[in-house]
């Protein structure tokens, strides 16, 4: 038997450990976002304040001069627009191809479908960087270099998206439901549109968020496809802007903050979807 005093001491000890863990985690989490916090705060600092030590998190004399300078020097908003358009088109493409292919591969067990599934599976491990040079020459042959269509060419399908939807179809859509609809005389397209798609809403949402962020943060492909200043995506624009040697850190921070703040906000809003999508990449059949 544990004596009451001993019990309360144990409870106290447990509480102490939990508080310590909380403290460790809070400091670690803060450390993880500290670089980004500093970046945002640097964006509002005057050049002289940038030199202060220790660096301040909240600028003593916030200024918008950096933002004005960046907007004057670069087509920043235009680049953001390019990225947005590219990311939306890519998301639309990936979600529709994955929904169709995932459904068919999940529910139609013909031998030809198995061969197609094997094809998707076998090439899924090949990194994009391996085949992007030949793909570049295809884009050149199609005459879509320096355009959003060229960007899209690299981001139209996503193997993982197809697997994700296929898994969801297998686990969450019962065969009986589809059979019942068929007996009632429903056509295959009607079934897909009216029964399957609504049931996949959650998975498709998660996939859409993943696809959007994938395109939004892509770097190597936009880097080789776009060569004119007007067609850069925001990532490429920023990366090349920072190599100019007249550029100071305040302006770079302002440009970066202008990109980061909206995407972090979007992420925090869509966190559940995002986490669900990413987490399912780790799940095996």
């Amino acid at each position: 038997m544990i004596k009451p005093t001993e019990g309360s001491r144990l409870r106290f000890r447990r509480k102490l450990i939990d508080r310590t863990i909380d403290l460790v985690l809070v400091s670690f989490s803060m450390l993880m976002i500290l670089p980004l916090l500093f970046l945002v705060s640097n964006a509002f600092k005057s050049p002289s304040e940038m030199l202060n030590w220790p660096p301040t998190i909240i600028p003593t004399d916030p200024t918008l001069a950096n933002f004005k300078a960046v907007l004057g020097e670069t087509p920043l908003l235009h680049w953001i627009g390019n990225s947005l358009l590219f990311a939306c088109l890519s998301t639309t493409c990936i979600v529709s191809t994955s929904a169709l292919a995932g459904y068919v591969l999940g529910k139609f067990r013909f031998r030809s479908m198995n061969i197609i599934f094997f094809l998707f599976l076998a090439t899924a491990v090949v990194p994009f960087e391996v085949y992007m040079i030949p793909l570049y020459f295809q884009a050149q042959a199609l005459g879509v270099l320096n355009s959003v269509w060229g960007l899209l060419l690299g981001y139209m399908v996503m193997s993982f998206g197809i697997f994700l939807i296929r898994q969801n179809v297998i686990h969450s859509i019962p065969d009986e439901l589809l059979e019942a609809a068929r007996i009632d005389g429903a056509g295959e397209f009607w079934i897909f549109w009216r029964i399957v798609l609504p049931l996949l809403r959650g998975a498709l949402g998660a996939l859409a968020v993943l696809a959007f962020f994938q395109a939004w943060t892509s770097f190597a492909w936009p880097m080789i496809i776009t060569t004119t200043r007007e067609t850069y995506t925001i990532e490429v624009g920023l990366a090349l802007f920072q190599t100019g040697f007249t550029v100071d850190l305040g302006r770079l921070s302002a440009a970066s903050a202008a990109v980061l703040i909206p995407s972090i906000t979007l992420f925090v809003l869509l966190r559940r979807n995002f986490v669900q999508g990413v987490a399912s990449t780790g799940l095996k059949e």
């Binding site: 989490s29 030949p134 990532e235 770079l252 780790g282």
Partner: protein
């Protein structure tokens, strides 16, 4: 008859995806393999078949060797930092699932993984900056001489590793959290009744049971480490606008050979080397998993 109708629907429905897939994935992959065996300089019309000559040239190419070594160091460096940290952090977060800060932990550790790389790298560029950066200030306060982090061949590789680990950590923690949630609670209760402390059950129960997840996350981390490009490009570009010369990585070397030196066949052979590395890593993962599955 009905089967036939269903088959037709399946074919029609999968056709668009299949066609796109063949054009933007299968064909370029095949083309990479084909080009790697040919000598093709963009300017010339001819593409003579030269067998494995590109690969034997790679063996003696110092720039390629630099790139391969740097990339390998970066990939394994990120692995060594990320996996243990992620495992411990995920264990602590899992332990405090009911804490009111739980979602704050998850969000702030995950944010570096989702934010666009270039702006995030800009923050690190400032931290590492030789004149203005807080890192050197901090070091000089501790009595260590300031370093020119981004201009030193060794230090800049370390900087790339730090940046990549900072990003990769969020993903690893997330996958580990999924793993922790799937562990059987009863086992942990049993070992607790036997008097095991938290760290003991972590060491003797969680780590062995999470082995498949560790394997998976390790391979994913390594593969993305071998594909590193943007991080090196942004971080190690100097102020004269010569991006990424300092930290030469595989993808950078490949793109340079293709678009600056116009040696597409040669670049394709580098891509094939990258592919082989990735395939080997994946095979290792599968064979280890299968071994584990056997009693």
């Amino acid at each position: 008859m009905l089967q036939r109708k269903r088959w037709i629907f399946a074919m029609i429905a999968i056709l668009p995806t299949l066609v796109i897939f063949a054009c933007v994935r299968l064909y370029p992959i095949a083309d990479t393999l084909r080009l790697s065996l040919h000598k093709w300089d963009i300017l010339s019309k001819k593409k003579p078949f030269i067998g494995l000559a590109n690969f034997s040239e790679l063996l003696g190419d110092h720039l390629f060797q630099d790139a391969l070594i740097n990339t390998t160091i970066i990939a394994f460096g990120v692995l060594i930092i990320t996996i243990p940290t992620a495992l411990v952090v995920a264990a602590l977060i899992f332990h405090r699932t009911r804490s009111r800060f739980a979602s704050f932990y998850e969000t702030s550790i995950f944010i570096p993984y989702v934010v666009s790389l270039v702006p995030a790298a800009m923050a690190w560029k400032w931290i590492f900056d030789a004149r203005l950066g807080p890192l050197n200030f901090l070091l000089s306060n501790l009595g260590i001489a300031p370093q020119s982090w981004l201009f030193d061949p060794v230090l800049s590789v370390i900087c790339v590793i730090i940046l990549c680990s900072w990003q990769a950590l969020g993903y690893a923690v997330l996958i580990y959290l999924v793993g922790f949630k799937s562990l059987p609670v009863s086992l942990f209760e049993a070992i607790k009744l036997d008097g095991a402390s938290g760290p003991q059950s972590f060491w003797y129960l969680s780590i062995p049971m999470l082995k498949p997840i560790t394997l998976y996350v390790s391979v994913v981390t390594l593969v993305s480490g071998f594909n590193v490009y943007a991080q090196a490009f942004v971080l190690a570009s100097d102020s004269q606008g010569a991006p990424g010369r300092l930290v030469r990585v595989l993808v950078l070397d490949m793109l340079e050979n293709s678009f600056r030196n116009y040696r597409v066949g040669y670049a394709a052979s580098e891509a094939v080397v990258l592919l082989v590395i990735v395939l080997i890593l994946t095979l290792i993962q599968f064979s280890l998993l299968r071994e584990k599955g056997r009693p």
